[in-house]
Every structure is written in structure tokens, then in C-alpha cells.
């Protein structure tokens, strides 16, 4: 239920057992190898380095092939990872030669890329030539004869008339043939005598003539375009054929995926050699290991050999161990929330058990709809049952499942049922409460007509969480041995806030008046102790008093933190009102003839799914933010380095035992 205690150890053993011991450690998954200061004596010899490089190349090729083949994989709504045991994965991957399939995939990618380039080039050519397709001049004639020259190209529509006029002024023996025109340009050919070529060219340049640069081949343009089109078809067909051929190889995909994971493990194992020191006959691993795993680790290594030593090392000054948090099975999913913020420092406390209750209640308050709660319970318990998630995702789904359960409970108390009002449901779901208001069964409070009560509830929860935060800080610093700091810095705030809480409760009449006097004096006592203690660092007595009084300004910080919890009401209202809006629009649909009821159902279902998705996302983020900013800030700093043991991580496969 807290941070795992992590020890620094050193294992020294005979070299010949190195590979076996490393394999054991990797399977053990609870040991992080510490890097060496220098890698002069590192166990990563030239030979193993070569092996590592080869493996990395192989893995990159496998990844490339997976990427190629995945394009043709049938997409499924739910795709489960491949279940396989460790031994099978090893055997399959080592006994198979992947060079064949890698070659096929590379070949495929090369050829399709080439075909795609061809298609692009040809299409470009066709679109350039298209305006001239009715050109009567044959391509071999485009250079003209001894006496006449020919130009083919385009100018802007607005200057085409100009061109005709100017050339006619120049000579009568100029023939301009308009081939086609679009909204901006006119495409034409011009034939003229060689002796006036300078003048004609001058006119053309002035009018911003662009030469068509027709290909220098034979035949008419029409024929050329036709043959280009058939080339295009050919290129497209070749891509289709390539696709068809590669699809035959799709059966290799699973093997490739298994091999990818297997070689990733091997690479990680080999890379860790870099951090291991070796001598002629022995090797030495320095590592972080959780204290409780030490015995198990010793037993694992003992299975291989007894020619080893294992000792626990003292930490050097300034050496900071990595951080791992360990919680009961019930609390474990909430580690996902903590890890979103980042881990606490190694000498701080694990906030997971403290935030769990608050997080889930806040999440539910942001939704407050029992119907949505039930939907979430159904969806996420089915997902957990039928889909094999990796660990990180599984914890997230579990948190959401808890969220669904609490949302159902709170939603029932608040009377949220898909944004419906009590008038819209059959009467056996409702009752009339003492004040004559129609309520859902089991509903205790109506957040739409009584939002203030919910706001007060939100503030109260925030106040409790923040006060709890100061107590956590107090106990933690006290138990760590900084008793003076704990007693003088933190405790006065805790006591003051507690007293204030009781005092506010008694003012509102929630508790008896005799308690109110206690609360009042308690709060005042807390206030005085704050003034007396918070300035103790200052030298002069006036300085002490002044900073003592100034420290009361900290109350503003606590106040603004509490006010921040008002978002719980806002988000809860948002869910309720969107739900209401969906229902209103759905009912409007009913009056459309013939398909009215169908449309109503579509709007109702689609609208509520949208509302649930967007608000569950908002609920998760905002509930998390309240933990990270308002709660964590009271007792922890965060920023611990995560404990990353040498292990077998999987991307595609699910290891069965």
C-alpha cells in the first residue's frame, strides 16, 4: 500500500552462467540493471555487439514486413493479441527463416512505389497534353519546314484577339489555329514564314506565350494520349496484381508479429550486457531490486548455479533509487491515475490509496446519471471479460468500471436517468416527496431545482480532501523524523482547517450548538498557533509576528482550492442538461411522418452515447486534475524516476503461462 522499498544489490557469478542468469532475470521481471560508469569492462564484447546489430536489423526488417502486410489484414472491431506461450514463441521464431517473406515484402514495396510514380508521371503528362488533343499537326511536323515555322502553346484568353490582330498586321501569311480554350487560357498553333520569326516571337513573348513543349515523337497527339492512357491502365493493373500476390502471404503475419516480440526481448537482453561488468572468469551485475523480491531472486539464481554471490549495497551520497508503487488488487487500477501525474519522489508517500475514493466519487458527480452508470458497467465488464488488454489499458478500463458503479449509485440518489424528468416515465418509477415534488424512486436530491445543495456538497468534499492532504503531510513528515517541521509547520494548518470545518458545520446548523462553541474556539486556537509558528524562521520578534500574520494569507490559497471543486456541479449539470436537450430534440422528431419514431430512436441513442463519451472524458480529466493540482500539492512534489525492470514487454502477443 505504498512505495516499494528498493534496494541496490550486486550479483557476481561465473561467466559461463551469464546467459542463463540473464534469461532468468528477464523472466523474473523485477530487477533494473544499473548502468556502468565506464563501459571499458562491459560484457558487451565485439561478438555480442555484432549479434545485437544483426538482431536489430532483423527486427527492423520484420517490422517493415508487418507494416506492409498489415495493410491487407482484415480489420476487426475487436482485435485480440495473439495468445502464445513463452516456449512456443521462442521455438517458432528461432526455427523460422524470415528472409524469404522479408524479400517478398521489400520487392512488393519497391514495385508498387515504382508503379505509383509511373502513374503520377503519366497522369501529369496526360493532363498537360489534354488541351491540345485536337491539334491537327502531327508531332513529327512540329519543327516546321525549311520555309515555315510552327509554334504550339497557350496564352491568356483576353490577349488572344490581340495576337490575331498583331500578327495579321505583320503578315498575311500567318495561320493561327485555335485548338481549345478553358476559362483562362487559349491553346493554339501558329504557322509563319521563317523570315519574320523574330517579329512573331517578339509578339508572342510580349503576350506571355507559354510553349507547350510537345514530346518529339511521331504520330498525332490523339494517338500519343491514347497510348499514355493504356500505359496508365497497365500501371494500375500491375499494382492490383502486386496487391493480389502479396495477399497470399498474409498468413505469415502472425508469425512475424510473434517474432517481432521475441526478437525485441532478445535485443533488450543483449543491450543490458552493456551495463554488466566482466572480468576474465566472472561477471558482475549492479541493480535495483524491490526488497520483497530479494529472496525470490536468490532462489531463481540458485536454480542455475551456486557459484555466485549476492550482496546488498549501501547507497552512495546523492544516489536516488527509482520508484515503484505497490497497491492491493482493489486499489491497483487507481495507480493509472497516479501515474498520469507521475510518480512521487522516493522519499514521499504513495497517494494512490488516498485519491482512489475521491477520484471515483468526483468522477461520478461529474456524470450523475444512473443510466450512464449502468451502460458503463455493462460495456466495461464485457470488455474486461472478452478482450485481452495489456496491463496499462486494463487498469484504465477497471477504473472506468468502478466509475460506472459509483455513477450508478450517485445517479440514483440524484435522480439522473438518461436526462429524463420524472413526468416522462411511468408512475411506478416515481414518488412524491415531502415537499410535493415528483421524484424518481430512491432519489434524494434534485440537482436541477436545487443546484446550491450540490454546490455545497462539492465544496464540502473539496474541503475534506484538502484538509486530509494537510494531515497526510503532517503524519508523513512526522514519521520520517522531521518532527519539529511537522508539528510547527503543518499541524497548525491541519488543526485550524479542522476547527474551521466544524465551525462552518455548526453555523449551518448541521451539528448541535454545543459543538459549535468547540469548533469556534478550536478554529481560533488554530489561527493563533498559525501566527505563532509560521514566522519562526525570522530573526527579530517583529519579523516573527509579521510573517506569522502574513502566513494567514495562505488561507486564500486553501479557499481558492476549495472553490475549484465547484466544477463538479458544473460538469454534473452539463451532463444532465445535454441529456435533456437530446431528449427534447428526440421528441421533436416524433412528429415527422413515417420515419418519426425511427429518427427519434436514432437521436436518442446517438445523442446519449455522445453525451456519455464526451462527459466521461471530461469527468476523468477534471476529477484527475482535482487530485493533481488541489490534492497532491498539499503533501507531495512528485517527479520520481520509474522503476523499469528488465522484462519481456509485448507489443503483439499475449503470453500464456
Amino acid at each position: 500500500m505504498a512505495l516499494s522499498q528498493i534496494k541496490k544489490i550486486r550479483v557476481v557469478a561465473i561467466s559461463k552462467h551469464k546467459d542463463k542468469i540473464l534469461e532468468k532475470i528477464q523472466n523474473f521481471s523485477d530487477l533494473e540493471v544499473i548502468s556502468l560508469d565506464t563501459d571499458i569492462n562491459s560484457a558487451l564484447t565485439k561478438k555480442s555487439k555484432e549479434k545485437l546489430e544483426n538482431l536489430e536489423l532483423l527486427r527492423a526488417n520484420i517490422e517493415f514486413s508487418i507494416k506492409t502486410l498489415s495493410k491487407f489484414e482484415k480489420k476487426k472491431l475487436i482485435s485480440n493479441p495473439i495468445s502464445i506461450s513463452l516456449e512456443d514463441a521462442k521455438e517458432q521464431s528461432e526455427n523460422q527463416d524470415f528472409s524469404q517473406i522479408i524479400k517478398i515484402c521489400q520487392n512488393y514495396e519497391d514495385k508498387t512505389q515504382k508503379a505509383k510514380n509511373d502513374i503520377e508521371n503519366i497522369s501529369q503528362k496526360i493532363s498537360n497534353l489534354a488541351p491540345y488533343k485536337d491539334l491537327s499537326i502531327k508531332l513529327e511536323e512540329q519543327n516546321g519546314t525549311d520555309n515555315y515555322l510552327i509554334k504550339v502553346g497557350e496564352i491568356k484568353n483576353i490577349v488572344f484577339e490581340d495576337l490575331i490582330k498583331k500578327t495579321n498586321e505583320l503578315s498575311k501569311i500567318v495561320s493561327i489555329e485555335k485548338v481549345s480554350a478553358d476559362t483562362t487560357n487559349t491553346y493554339f498553333s501558329i504557322i509563319f514564314e521563317k523570315n519574320i520569326d523574330r517579329e512573331i516571337l517578339q509578339i508572342l513573348t510580349n503576350l506571355k506565350f507559354i510553349d507547350a513543349s510537345l514530346p518529339k515523337t511521331k504520330g498525332s497527339l490523339k494517338e500519343l494520349i491514347h497510348s499514355l492512357k493504356s500505359d496508365l491502365k497497365e500501371a494500375k493493373r500491375s499494382i492490383k496484381n502486386l496487391d493480389k500476390n502479396i495477399q497470399k502471404e498474409i498468413k505469415e503475419l502472425n508469425k512475424l508479429k510473434i517474432a517481432y516480440d521475441y526478437y525485441s526481448w532478445e535485443i533488450e537482453k543483449l543491450s543490458s550486457l552493456k551495463k554488466i561488468e566482466k572480468t576474465d572468469f566472472a561477471f558482475c551485475i549492479t541493480a535495483w531490486v524491490p526488497k520483497k523480491s530479494l529472496d525470490a531472486l536468490e532462489k531463481e539464481i540458485n536454480d542455475i548455479t551456486n557459484e555466485y554471490t549476492m550482496e546488498i549495497l549501501q547507497l552512495k551520497k546523492d544516489e536516488v533509487p527509482p520508484v515503484a508503487i505497490k497497491n492491493s488488487k482493489f486499489m491497483e487500477p487507481f495507480e493509472a491515475v497516479t501515474k498520469t501525474f507521475g510518480l512521487p519522489l522516493h522519499n514521499e508517500i504513495d497517494p494512490t490509496p488516498f485519491l482512489a475514493g475521491f477520484f471515483i466519487v468526483f468522477f461520478a458527480l461529474c456524470l450523475t446519471d444512473a443510466g450512464y452508470g449502468i451502460l458503463m458497467i455493462i460495456a466495461f465488464s464485457l470488455a474486461l471479460k472478452f478482450i485481452k488488454f495489456d496491463k496499462g489499458f486494463k487498469t484504465l478500463i477497471s477504473v472506468l468500471l468502478y466509475g460506472g458503479i459509483v455513477t450508478m449509485i450517485i445517479g440514483t440518489l440524484f435522480g439522473g436517468w438518461f436526462g429524463l424528468t420524472p413526468e416522462q416515465v411511468p408512475s411506478f418509477f416515481t414518488y412524491i416527496d415531502a415537499s410535493g415534488e415528483k421524484m424518481f424512486l430512491l432519489q434524494k436530491i434534485n440537482p436541477i431545482t436545487n443546484p446550491l445543495n450540490v454546490l455545497i456538497l462539492a465544496f464540502a468534499l473539496g474541503f475534506i480532501q484538502i484538509t486530509l492532504g494537510t494531515y497526510i503531510k503532517f503524519f508523513h513528515t512526522y514519521l520520517k523524523g522531521y518532527r519539529k517541521n511537522a508539528l510547527l509547520d503543518t499541524l497548525p494548518w491541519s488543526l485550524f482547517l479542522t476547527g474551521l470545518g466544524f465551525y462552518i458545520l455548526s453555523i449551518t446548523g448541521a451539528i448541535t450548538s454545543s459543538a459549535s462553541i468547540i469548533g469556534k474556539y478550536w478554529a481560533i486556537a488554530g489561527l493563533i498557533s498559525l501566527v505563532l509558528t509560521q514566522g519562526r524562521e525570522k530573526k527579530s520578534i517583529i519579523g516573527k509576528l509579521l510573517s506569522g500574520i502574513l502566513s494567514l494569507y495562505g488561507l486564500v490559497g486553501y479557499l481558492s482550492d476549495v472553490l475549484s471543486y465547484s466544477r463538479l456541479l458544473a460538469l454534473g449539470l452539463a451532463t444532465a442538461i445535454i441529456g435533456m436537450a437530446v431528449n427534447t430534440i428526440a421528441i421533436l422528431m416524433k412528429d415527422i411522418p413515417f420515419i418519426g419514431y425511427l429518427l427519434m430512436a436514432i437521436v436518442f441513442i446517438g445523442g446519449h452515447i455522445f453525451n456519455l463519451t464526451i462527459n466521461a472524458l471530461g469527468a476523468f480529466i477534471h476529477s484527475g486534475r482535482l487530485q493533481f493540482v488541489e490534492f497532491f500539492g498539499k503533501f507531495m512534489e512528485g517527479g520520481g524516476r520509474e522503476f523499469k525492470p528488465l522484462s519481456k514487454k509485448t507489443k503483439y502477443i499475449y503470453l500464456t503461462k
Partner: protein, 163 residues
Amino acid sequence: MTELFGQIDGLALALAGAGFAVILGGIGSSLGVRYAGAAGAGVVTEQPEKFGKVLVLEALPGTQGIYGFLVGFLILLFTGVLTGAPKDLTLVQGWQLFFACLPCGLACLFSGINQGKVTAAGMNMVAKDGSNMGKAMVLSAMVETYAVLGFLISALLLFFIKL
């Protein structure tokens, strides 16, 4: 001027308020989502497998538009426009409803735009390392706080203005 305002009754003012809330929130969100989406498109080009994460992040600055819409919806609901029997509102009530819409509208306008910018920066975090997703979301949600507060005040005002 007097002629123009003489034509305006309480209901028209209330509906103008509803319009402002929806329009301002919508502008804020659409700009915000644009910033986030443009940055996200870049991430997806390089790493298509992150589409899911990018989509979730892109949705974050979209809430302001929803808050604006909700305030507009509440006005329609409370003034009876939705039920087809609009209430007769005095000019004072009309102004009250109009001003009640502004906290949400204005807060959502600026919060949406700025949340979009923070989210776009968050896209870069996700591009670098997918596990930064949670942190990027929290950073983005910090900006949303003020839209939430604006919405809260607008909603409370609408609940408590006597019609």
C-alpha cells in the same frame, strides 16, 4: 434608436442572450479545435497509430461550444420557446437573462481559443511519447476551468432569475 429598442421586448433580449452564448462558445471552440486539429494532423501523418489519442485531445477544446449551447438551451427551455408557449417577459427580465448568458459566452470564447493552443502544444508531447497523453490532457484541462466557471455562473443565474 428609440424606435429600434421600442420593438424589442424581454423575450427578444433573452433570445439574443441565448444566441450570444451559443455563438461565442462556438467561435471559441471551433478556433480551439482548429489549432488542436491542425497540430494533430501533423502527428497523424507521421504516426497514424496515434489517431485515437490525437482525436481525444482534439475533442478537449470542443467543450466550450457545448457549454454555450447548453446556456442557449436553458434559455429556450425556461422562456417556453421550446414548448411552443413563449412567456411574456418584461424588459428587465429580458436584460437579466441577456446578461446571465455573457459569463459563459465570453469565458468560453477565450478559454476555447487558448485551450486549443495548449492542446496543440500537447500534441507535440504525444508525438514524442504516447505515454504523455495524460499530462497533455491535464495541461489542457487547466484552461478549460475558466469556461467551466463561466458556465456555472450562467447556469446558476438562469436557474435563479425569477420568470
